[in-house]
């Protein structure tokens, strides 16, 4: 059986990247009119839209927490986002470990809606990054950015930011989310098999990726805030 060549002898990957290279990231904030905060992020061909509403009154009184806000995340995949068309899987809820100062908003609710428009590997990391950007855009106080990145291992070579082809060819994939300024790990998830000896190098590569993403996102946020500064300087 001819297995797809994921790593060329020169050490380049299927899409021509080096092992420790991220895909191109395009991020934009304040893209939606209705939401309090919104962001759109492209990591290669993975495209995610995030919308944040809140803080606001809790809709279901059962869920009220009297000392902090509840966070509700809804995750949606567009039917045309993958190569096979499929009916959407709605309410695939998962907590994405976003670090908020929720104690500032007792008895309220923050909603985060994530919409995957196109899927090409690394959906979780793109969702986390998009949610972070949307929360920043909404002006919700946060301890720090939460940046996420994936890393995997192909032929014993740790590689950063897997695309769909690499993801689906049985290579292990580890998603890590960190608070870049303290380096604390917020989320770590892996659903495949990886030798424990490799784990550390893969994890550190992912962490490195997170820091690169942080630099990119921070630049975007500063860029979009520039006009606020200009208006205040007048």
């Amino acid at each position: 059986m001819s297995r797809l060549e994921l790593l060329t002898p020169e050490g380049l990957r299927v899409d021509g990247r080096r092992p420790n290279e991220l895909r191109k990231i395009i991020a934009k904030t304040s893209v939606l009119a209705q939401a309090d905060g919104s962001a759109y992020i492209e990591q290669g061909n993975t495209k995610v839209l995030a919308a944040v509403y809140g803080p606001q009154e809790v809709r279901h009184r059962m869920q009220i927490l009297h000392d902090r806000a509840i966070i509700n995340v809804e995750f949606n995949v567009a039917p045309f986002s993958t190569s096979e068309r499929k009916k959407r899987s709605k309410n695939d809820k998962y907590d994405n470990g976003i670090k908020l100062q929720t104690s500032q908003f007792p008895r309220s609710q923050i909603d985060i809606y994530l919409q995957v428009l196109q899927h090409d590997g690394g959906t979780l990391q793109a969702c986390i990054n998009a949610a972070t950007m949307a929360l920043i855009d909404a002006g919700i106080p946060m301890i720090d950015y939460v940046c996420a990145s994936t890393a995997g291992c192909i032929d014993k070579q740790p590689v950063l930011d897997l695309n769909y082809l690499e993801e689906s060819s049985d290579s292990p994939e580890l998603t890590v989310a960190i608070l870049p300024r303290t380096g604390k790990v917020n989320l770590m998830s892996m659903e495949s098999r990886l030798h424990v000896d490799m784990l550390e190098s893969v994890a550190s590569l992912a962490t490195e990726g997170c820091e690169q993403i942080h630099t990119i996102l921070d630049a975007v946020v500063r860029d979009t805030t520039q006009h606020l500064k200009d208006s205040l300087m007048q």
């Binding site: 934009k28 939606l32 009119a33 209705q34 939401a35 919308a51 039917p79 045309f80 068309r85 809606y113």
Partner: protein, 301 residues
């Protein structure tokens, strides 16, 4: 659901009467529109339309091979699905959008599912009595500020224009047995037949005694009755749907239909022109080996 105070309602109604709307438009003025095709690489065709500062619709078209229906064995079909994302409004969270999704899906399906849409369904059949192409149209509402249905129609027309169906090669195995092969070559894929006849929808909202097109969310709230009319490039009416509670006088009704025909006509012309220009530019760049740079999502925001 936001509600409207009497003062706001009067303001809008009187404004419509004197042909001046809250955002400075006249009764029959459309908002500015941003359109882009071919932005979802996994789909066979896609388009995104952003209307004014709000309504944002993304349409992806995917074609798949399936068995033909036993009672119509020589045609393919079009299946529409509209989804409202919670990013457009909080009300769409969970199952909150189900009713609206159904309503919009039905509206689109009724126009595009039958022969009135102009698509040659027979061309979608690969082998008579066996297999055909099914065209799945998935519309997604990402942001909301009024007049969604017209935007969906427009985005759908653009996405179908952008859609290419792979060519198939049929082999005759004798004894009435056929086998076919899907050609992988992207260059060889062809457009749907009859694409130029696909209608678009024009929704007229009756406010007071006047009627307007391209209503904003506040104007939609004080609409007494609305009429969505699907028209194609030859001014033929391909479907009419009345919505909202109020009634429409017969005289006004025919006036509204005439207006819709006229406006639909000019919208289709502009849309076709834009699509052709865009395609020509892309083709030219491809010939010259230049990099094709897409506007990208939300580039204009």
């Amino acid at each position: 659901m936001p509600y409207l105070s009497q003062a706001e309602r009067d303001y809008i109604t009187e404004g419509v009467q004197s042909d001046l709307r809250a955002d400075g438009r006249g009764r029959l003025d459309y908002r500015a529109l941003v359109l882009e095709t071919g932005i979802i690489s996994q789909a066979n065709g896609s388009a995104r339309v952003r209307l004014g500062d709000g309504t944002d619709v993304l349409v992806g078209v995917k074609v798949e091979i399936d068995q033909v229906e036993p009672d119509a064995d020589n045609v393919g079909k079009v299946v529409c699905n509209v989804e409202c994302s919670p990013s457009a409004s909080q009300q769409f969270e969970g199952h909150g959008a189900d009713d609206l999704n159904n309503e919009l899906t039905q509206a689109l399906q009724r126009v595009l599912g039958g022969p009135q849409c102009g698509i040659n369904f027979e061309k979608l059949c690969i082998i008579k009595g066996q297999q055909c192409w099914i065209v799945y149209i998935d519309a997604m509402i990402l942001d909301y500020s009024g007049n969604v249905l017209d935007t969906i129609f427009m985005a759908t027309k653009a996405a179908l224009f952008n859609t290419r169906i792979p060519k198939t090669q049929i082999q005759d195995l004798g004894d009435g047995e056929f086998e076919f092969e899907v050609l992988d070559d992207v260059e060889d894929a062809e457009r749907l037949d009859g694409i130029e006849n696909i209608p678009i929808g024009v929704t007229l909202n009756k406010i007071g005694t006047g009627h307007i097109i391209d209503a904003s969310p506040l104007e939609e709230l004080c609409t007494e009755a609305k009429l969505t009319i699907a028209v194609n490039k030859d001014s033929q009416i391909c479907g009419i749907q009345k919505g909202a509670e109020g009634g429409i006088e017969p005289g006004l009704m025919s006036e509204m239909i005439q207006t819709a025909k006229r406006i639909g006509q000019s919208l289709i012309q502009q849309l076709d022109q834009k699509l052709q220009d865009e395609e020509q530019q892309v083709d030219e760049k491809r010939l010259n080996g230049e990099n094709i740079e897409k506007l990208g999502f939300f580039a204009m925001v």
